[in-house]
């Protein structure tokens, strides 16, 4: 690839890193493209030639973070042990641990994805396909091991688990709950739902 491509790539990296930090420090709405350019040490114009909008910057910031998270998962998942409920608990605990490292950024993403004036460039909250797949595999594996009723509809169970997972962040939004507290709450919810799918 040419020098121009390298330069563009370098700008992109700098912008995404600056945006991630600014969104987390001061919030998404409060952060302007100008502030991002300034922090990244690039011109405002070059931000706009790389990204169509602030929403698109946020989407890329979140995608990259998820990439890091799932690299972590690829190492951990083969080692998950215990009941299906325990395994699910570990999966969610790792998510909480990861997202609360930059909780304001994560909350900004949720808020921005629900805003009626949102740019179409933004990925809606709850569209995390890797998480959905991971939950599905864990449930199907549970069915195979005889830990989960075979007539459980995985998609409905996934819906319920993801709703509880997502809305527990509410406790982080208003009460600064730690990852440990969020995971403890999630464990109670998983155990409760699991009563219904045990054989």
């Amino acid at each position: 690839m040419g020098v121009r491509h390298d330069q563009k790539q370098a700008t992109r990296e700098k912008v995404l890193e600056a945006a991630r930090d600014l969104f987390n420090e001061t919030g998404y709405e409060e952060t302007t493209i100008r502030a991002i350019a300034e922090r990244a040490g690039v011109s405002v114009g070059s931000v706009f030639t790389t990204f169509a909008s602030k929403a698109e910057v946020l989407s890329h910031v979140m995608d990259r973070r998820l990439g890091e998270l799932y690299a972590e998962f690829d190492r951990v998942v083969p080692f998950l042990r215990g009941s299906t409920a325990d395994r699910l608990g570990s999966i969610f605990a790792i998510h909480y641990e990861f997202e609360t490292r930059r909780v304001k950024l994560f909350l900004a993403h949720i808020a921005a994805s629900y805003s009626p004036s949102q740019d179409p460039g933004l990925t809606p909250y709850g569209r995390n396909l890797r998480l959905t797949e991971m939950l599905r595999e864990t449930l199907l594996d549970g069915i195979e091991r005889g830990d989960v009723r075979p007539d459980l509809d995985p998609q409905t169970a996934i819906d319920v688990l993801k709703a509880a997972y997502a809305w527990n962040y509410r406790m982080a939004a208003c009460g600064q709950a730690s990852a440990t507290e969020l995971s403890a709450m999630m464990d109670r919810q998983i155990q409760f739902i699991a009563q219904g799918w045990r054989l």
Partner: protein, 215 residues
């Protein structure tokens, strides 16, 4: 528990015959609220400024601030008015139900029916709910407490009727049901689901949630 509207001046403070001044003040509030509702719906919470709202209402920014302390209070008042409209219907749906399913689905049919009709405003309120100030969060939890009381009532009556185990964790159950109810809105917002589709999904989810607590 009564659900006192902040939109209506309490009768003890208001003389039977409103003075011309009080009437004018009331009219100003109504004009501001209706302009604000429209702008929040179009632009979201962050996108609508007090200046825009004042302009849309045809008055000065100062006149808006004479009625409302800040944008937050204005937005909260709109949401409170909406809560009040649906609360009575939700209460009735929950109280008249013969089973837990009927009660929960009945309650949330009211809520989905109301909010899906004005999705942008609901979106704005969900967006704000993730980043709002602590006083605003406390006010909101005041509203939620009433809805949770209804939900707990539906579930407790289910326990009394022997639908659920006597030691079922009703509080946890109510929280999970609430999470699912709220999370489903994203299907309406991002995937254009109808009220019927939302309710049918909620009904399936409810079966999974209740399965372990059945008597």
């Amino acid at each position: 528990m009564s659900f006192v509207s902040l939109n209506i001046e309490s009768p003890t403070e208001t003389p039977v015959k409103l003075t011309r001044r009080a009437l004018a003040k009331q009219r100003t509030r109504e004009r501001v609220l209706s302009a604000a509702r429209r702008l929040f719906t179009e632009r979201g919470y962050e996108g609508a400024t007090i200046r825009d709202i004042a302009q849309a209402a045809g008055m000065s920014t100062g006149a808006v601030f004479a009625s409302f302390a800040d944008k937050n209070e204005l937005f909260d008042e709109i949401l409170t008015a909406d809560y009040e409209v649906i609360y009575a219907q939700m209460k009735q749906a929950g109280a008249n139900a013969a089973t837990i399913e009927e009660g929960v689905i009945g309650m949330f049919a009211v809520a989905y029916g109301f909010h899906v009709e004005q999705l942008p405003l609901l979106q704005a309120s969900i967006a704000v709910s993730w980043t709002r100030s602590e006083p605003a969060e406390r006010r909101n939890r005041g509203h939620l407490k009433h809805i949770f009381a209804l939900l707990n009532g539906v579930l407790t009556r289910g326990v009394d009727r022997g639908e659920l185990k006597s030691d079922a964790d009703v509080k946890l159950l109510a929280e999970i049901i609430w999470d699912v109810y709220v999370a489903n809105y994203r299907r309406a917002i991002f995937d254009a689901w109808s009220v019927e589709a939302l309710l049918s999904r909620l009904s399936d989810q409810l079966k999974v949630i209740l399965a372990g607590a059945r008597a």
